[in-house]
């Protein structure tokens, strides 16, 4: 009898706690509300306005978009006829592949990032070695581990399979290319760049959709409270915002939960011993004929991002791009080397802030932008619960 009573009491307590988790609203300070306001996803019209158009006059051209969409899924654009962009950027996995390192014709050096919201940021690849979405697209086509093809082969495929679609947007293809598959290098480069611009036009439609967090935030800001996030998720959000506790907002800020900056978090590059990160990326983008200032750019007078970006200094060595956290529950594994299987692993890494390489291995004292958090594992679990609310409904 007594034992049953205790059991009932305990059960009752749990039920009460569960209810508590739903109903008791957490207080939110003005500072927190102001922070939350900066994270809410703007509506689609506003997002479209914010699309970064660097060098691409066709970003919004509907014919370019259609051509780009066809090219994105076209496996003929690879040396073995088996790899398309969608091999690694799979629509049902938020345009990732679920693999540690990407697999195309071979095994790539890095992990596949999402493409949702890519059009809203100014730098591409984990090390930022492309300064526009269209210049980015040219990289995987010629990467021996990804599509493994080259710009000449790409131009021939356009002339053979998409001549009408291409010419309707970009004007006539060189006659020699159509006749016998030959053209001048700069004619080929022009076609290659236009393929990139079409792919970028398609990717500019891959914009993030609102999540449960966004609906919570709107209700909280409108009415002063909301239970669209559980108490646990709200506690996780508080830790995420707190500059002493979670510190996440330092880098994962703005509606995409990224500042698009390059910072050192101590994640090891698969390139042994460690790649140079942003320092190598910026050198590559400055040397690229397809950068914003180059011959194939449609906006060579609007290249301030490239002109003013940081080009040297110890802060760039081993620095990688801060990724978006929208859709994060769909894009495991994590980090540019895919080394963390779960969000729990990521959070435990941040809690200790111990780089994956050591000083002896890289032969110098590297800059580090994160510091140990010293949170309890329950707190880490709350942050994780919050991160899971960023998935689009």
């Amino acid at each position: 009898m007594g034992r049953i009573f205790v059991l009932l009491l305990i059960l009752g307590l749990f039920a009460l706690l569960g209810l508590f988790d739903r109903v008791k609203p957490l207080p939110w300070s003005d500072q927190e509300k102001a922070q939350i306001r900066t994270l809410v996803l703007p509506d689609r019209m506003e997002l479209q306005k914010r699309i970064v158009r660097t060098g691409n006059a066709y970003w919004n051209d509907s014919q370019a978009l259609e051509l780009g969409k066809a090219l994105f899924f076209d496996r003929r654009l690879s040396i073995n006829g088996e790899v398309s962009c969608a091999t690694c950027h799979q629509p049902d996995k938020a345009f990732t592949d679920g693999k540690i390192l990407a697999e195309g014709v071979g095994i790539a050096r890095r992990h596949t990032p999402t493409l949702i919201g890519s059009a809203l940021i100014p730098w591409f690849f984990w090390d930022g070695r492309a300064d526009s979405l269209w210049a980015q697209a040219l990289g995987p086509l010629e990467d021996p581990a990804e599509h493994g093809t080259d710009r000449f082969a790409v131009a021939r495929i356009i002339a053979e399979h998409y001549p009408a679609e291409y010419e309707a947007i970009y004007g006539p293809l060189p006659g020699s290319l159509k006749r016998d598959g030959k053209a001048e290098p700069n004619q080929i480069n022009r076609i290659f760049a236009n393929v990139g611009k079409s792919l970028a036009a398609f990717q500019s439609t891959l914009l993030p959709e609102p999540s449960r967090f966004d609906r919570f935030a709107k209700e909280l800001l409108d009415t002063g409270e909301s239970d669209l996030l559980t108490r646990t998720e709200q506690q996780g959000l508080k830790l995420f915002l707190d500059d002493k506790k979670g510190q996440c907002l330092r880098c994962h800020n703005g509606p995409l939960f990224t500042n698009s900056d390059f910072v050192v978090t101590g994640i090891r590059d698969s390139n042994i011993p460690v790649g140079l990160g942003r320092l190598a990326g910026i050198r590559k983008v400055l040397d690229s004929p397809f950068n914003c200032l180059g011959l194939f750019s449609d906006t060579p007078n609007q290249c301030d991002e490239l002109i003013f970006t940081k080009k040297q200094g110890p802060e760039l060595t081993y620095a990688f791009k801060v990724p978006t956290l929208r859709q994060i529950s769909k894009t495991a594994p994590y980090m540019h080397n895919g080394s963390f299987e779960t969000l729990n692993d990521v959070l435990h890494f941040y809690n200790l802030a111990k780089p994956q390489y050591d000083q002896a291995e890289i032969g110098e004292k590297a800059h580090l932008d994160i510091e140990p958090l010293g949170l309890a594992s329950g707190e880490l679990a709350r942050i994780e619960a919050f991160l899971r609310t960023l998935e689009a409904d």
Binding site: R37, T38, N253, N259, F308, K310, G313
Partner: protein
């Protein structure tokens, strides 16, 4: 330290230089959102006639160096901003156009102007808040 709400259309911060030869006023323009390139203005007010005279020959943007960062986080600015224009007003004050400024985090920032010819620099501090 000046608290600086990002949504304010204009804010001003000032600081006397380390050796006292000038006072620096930094003036933001437009809304200061994170992760956007900003163009701000700096006004350098000479402390005396001697400094005013020295300034008169410092007409090259390269005579002024911008630096900044978040000392508490141990990092600098995410960009390499530059002085792109040097002007003088009727009172001999220097007006600099600062291009390529960007802030990628909320929190406590410093922004400084170094004038090597005067061997002097001034640093403003402010808290950027949403």
């Amino acid at each position: 330290m000046a608290v600086f709400p990002g949504q304010a259309s204009e804010s001003r911060f000032k600081a006397v230089s380390e050796k006292g030869s000038f006072t620096l006023h930094v003036i933001s323009s437009g809304e200061t959102s994170l992760n956007q390139l900003l163009t701000w203005t700096a006004r350098l007010v000479p402390a005396n006639g001697q400094v005013r005279k020295t300034f008169q020959v410092l007409r090259d943007p390269a005579d002024y160096i911008i630096a900044g960062g978040m000392p508490a986080h141990g990092h600098g600015l995410p960009t390499e901003p530059r002085v792109t224009d040097v002007r003088f007003d009727g009172r001999g004050e220097v007006i600099l156009t600062l291009k390529g400024i960007k802030f990628q985090m909320w929190g406590d920032w410093v922004l400084s102007i170094d004038v090597p010819a005067l061997q002097d620099r001034a640093e403003t501090a402010f808290t950027l808040k949403p």
